[in-house]
């Protein structure tokens, strides 16, 4: 047999084998991910209240979607979600950048900072929720005790319609700040050290070095951190569910909470599916940028 034919045959065999390697994962996800999502898309065009016995979905076209745009609960939830995502990610980024710079500039403290940061990051979100409920407690909680030491009156925190959202954002920042610090610190440490030395010799100040060297070189990493955090912040569910349950009133009712409540507590299946799909489309849109950044790095 000529050698080239053997190569072609081997290549074909390896290709078939590769397809077989892929098949279980792809088939699994087709059943458990693609099918449920398409089913949910279908349901979003139907009206179906599952609490009514023997009820069946009734086709109503785009009604679920058009209704959403005049649904004050939905619009309020979109607003709360956007505030939650933008404020928490922005503050996480600012604080995270500061801590990352500190940690990397300070080899001695880096071990301690790492250990301390690992704790909130790895804590079960449900535990975070119940734990902070005890910390926020107006009479027995530690937070009101500490602010009392510096002369501030006890606050209601998560029990107050105005303070609830900022309180929840603070908890989110507490748990997710480490993500930003770890990733940015890794990015900073991979930057070429020669450039820094050269800049120092030229008499550049710390701020100049940060603005002219660190920031531009860190751009790809910053992009990954921001997109990752934005997508994750949209997903938050457990912390809010255990901390405020979306309340008081609807002041911390993020989209994920609203969808869960209307779908699985009030069983407005069609309406909740329509919300899910609108939510999905927004996340898809953001994630395309993230995936582009990922694929560029993997090439």
């Amino acid at each position: 047999m000529p050698e080239s034919k053997v190569i072609v045959q081997t290549y074909r065999r390896e290709r078939t084998m590769s397809l077989l390697f892929m098949a279980p994962a792809v088939l699994f996800l087709l059943f458990t991910s693609v099918y449920p999502l398409l089913y949910s898309l279908r349901l979003s065009f139907f009206s179906w209240n599952m609490t009514v016995p023997n009820s069946h979905p009734v086709y109503i076209g785009w009604d679920n979607y058009t209704r959403l745009f005049s649904d004050s609960n939905f619009l309020a939830s979109v607003r709360v979600t956007l505030i939650f995502v933008v404020v928490s990610v922005a503050l996480e980024f600012l604080l995270g950048m500061m801590l990352a710079l500190l940690a990397t500039a300070n080899v001695k403290a880096i071990g301690l900072i790492r250990t301390v940061l690992l704790i909130p990051l790895m804590m079960t979100p449900v535990v975070v929720g119940v734990l902070w409920r005890t910390l926020f407690h107006s009479t027995y909680g530690a937070i009101n005790f500490f602010i009392g030491l510096i002369g501030i009156a006890p606050q209601p925190w998560v029990a107050d319609p105005v303070q609830a959202l900022p309180s929840v954002i603070a908890v989110e920042i507490w748990q997710q700040l480490p993500v930003v610090v770890f990733i940015l610190a890794a990015g900073i440490q991979s930057l070429p050290i020669d450039l820094y030395k050269a800049a120092r010799v030229d008499g550049a100040s710390s701020w100049q070095i940060f603005r002219e060297i660190t920031l531009p070189l860190l751009r790809p990493v910053i992009l990954v951190v921001l997109l990752l955090r934005i997508m994750d912040a949209f997903r938050v569910f457990d912390i809010i569910w255990t901390l405020t349950f979306g309340g008081p009133g609807r002041t911390t009712e993020l989209l994920s909470i609203l969808i869960y409540k209307s779908g699985l507590q009030f069983f407005q299946i069609g309406q909740a599916s329509a919300m899910s799909w609108l939510f999905l489309l927004v996340i898809f849109f953001i994630s395309i940028f993230f995936i582009r950044a990922l694929q560029k790095r993997n090439r």
Binding site: R235, T242, R297
Partner: protein, 284 residues
């Protein structure tokens, strides 16, 4: 370089301020965990007091005894272990096979990119968006409140993550050994079993730990799909909020026991943490 006394003094003050700020931030970050662990060892009368006891001078193991002696707690613990271990096993099995196929070039560039894109999308969507279809489908199949149902949802969520992370680990392996195996006439399957798996074992271990932690902590699907027989620990913890909210000591004891394995695992995989957090996009 400047080194006038004035400049030196300014630097010292700046450094001091920086250290102080860092110390404050670290204390704020660490305090809640300290509060959780100390509450777990407090007597019941010491948990619900005003002002709260920040530094407890006496402690007890009573909370742990109560929590571990509660009926069914053994079952909930076993449920959590079964679900986390099985879903990790499945995700690693399916994921490492797929990742290896994607790491090689036999499938062609466009197809591999398309599959990777689709797979990542399935990981990125908010879990709540599939909550409703899962709930309905799993009820129709008659598998509500079973380990199997919960495992299915956990594998769905962790599989894309496993594939992406393993892909990075496989791409980092030295090519020479595999090339030698090709010359020796090893097939793709033989190379995977005898070369890639042994070499990639650290990567597999790290990925498995991340997957285990996700499943161990997962709450949304667990609370929606399980009620009695397959209930996992996060659902039990969340229950403390509704019916026994003032049992801070017991709640903290159970929560401490629950996060203990996670902390140990996290310490073991520290070196790969950033990789895991970024789907392999940023490497340490």
């Amino acid at each position: 370089m400047q080194s006038t006394p004035n400049y030196q003094l300014r630097r010292t003050i700046e450094n001091l301020a920086l250290y102080l700020a860092t110390a404050v931030v670290l204390i704020v970050l660490a305090f809640p965990a300290y509060w959780l662990v100390t509450t777990a060892f407090k007597y019941e009368v010491d948990t619900i007091v005003s002002p709260p006891i920040i530094v407890p001078l006496r402690g007890t193991l009573e909370n742990f005894r109560l929590v571990l002696g509660a009926p069914d707690i053994g079952r909930f613990f076993t449920n959590s272990v079964i679900v986390a271990l099985t879903s990790t096993g499945f995700a690693i099995l399916l994921g490492s096979l797929a990742a290896y196929a994607l790491a090689k070039t036999y499938l062609g560039f466009a197809l591999r990119q398309a599959i990777m894109f689709w797979i990542l999308i399935t990981r990125i969507y908010p879990p709540v968006t599939t909550a409703i279809p899962y709930f309905i489908i799993i009820r129709r199949l008659g598998i509500s409140d079973t380990h199997f149902a919960l495992i299915l949802t956990h594998v769905t969520y962790s599989l894309p993550f496993v594939i992406w992370l393993m892909l990075g680990f496989f791409q980092d392996l030295p090519e020479e050994i595999e090339k030698a195996a090709i010359v020796d006439g090893c097939s793709l399957w033989q190379r995977f079993i005898h070369v890639i798996l042994p070499l990639g074992l650290p990567g597999i271990a790290v990925t498995a730990i991340f997957t285990f932690i996700y499943s161990w902590n997962e709450f949304l699907y667990a609370s929606m799909l399980t009620s009695v027989s397959a209930k996992t620990l996060p659902v039990v913890i969340a229950g403390y909020m509704s019916d026994k909210f003032l049992k801070w000591g017991e709640m903290s004891a159970l929560a401490s026991l629950m996060i203990l394995p996670v902390m140990i695992f996290a310490a073991l995989t520290q070196r790969y943490l950033v990789r895991g957090l970024t789907f392999g996009a940023v490497k340490e």
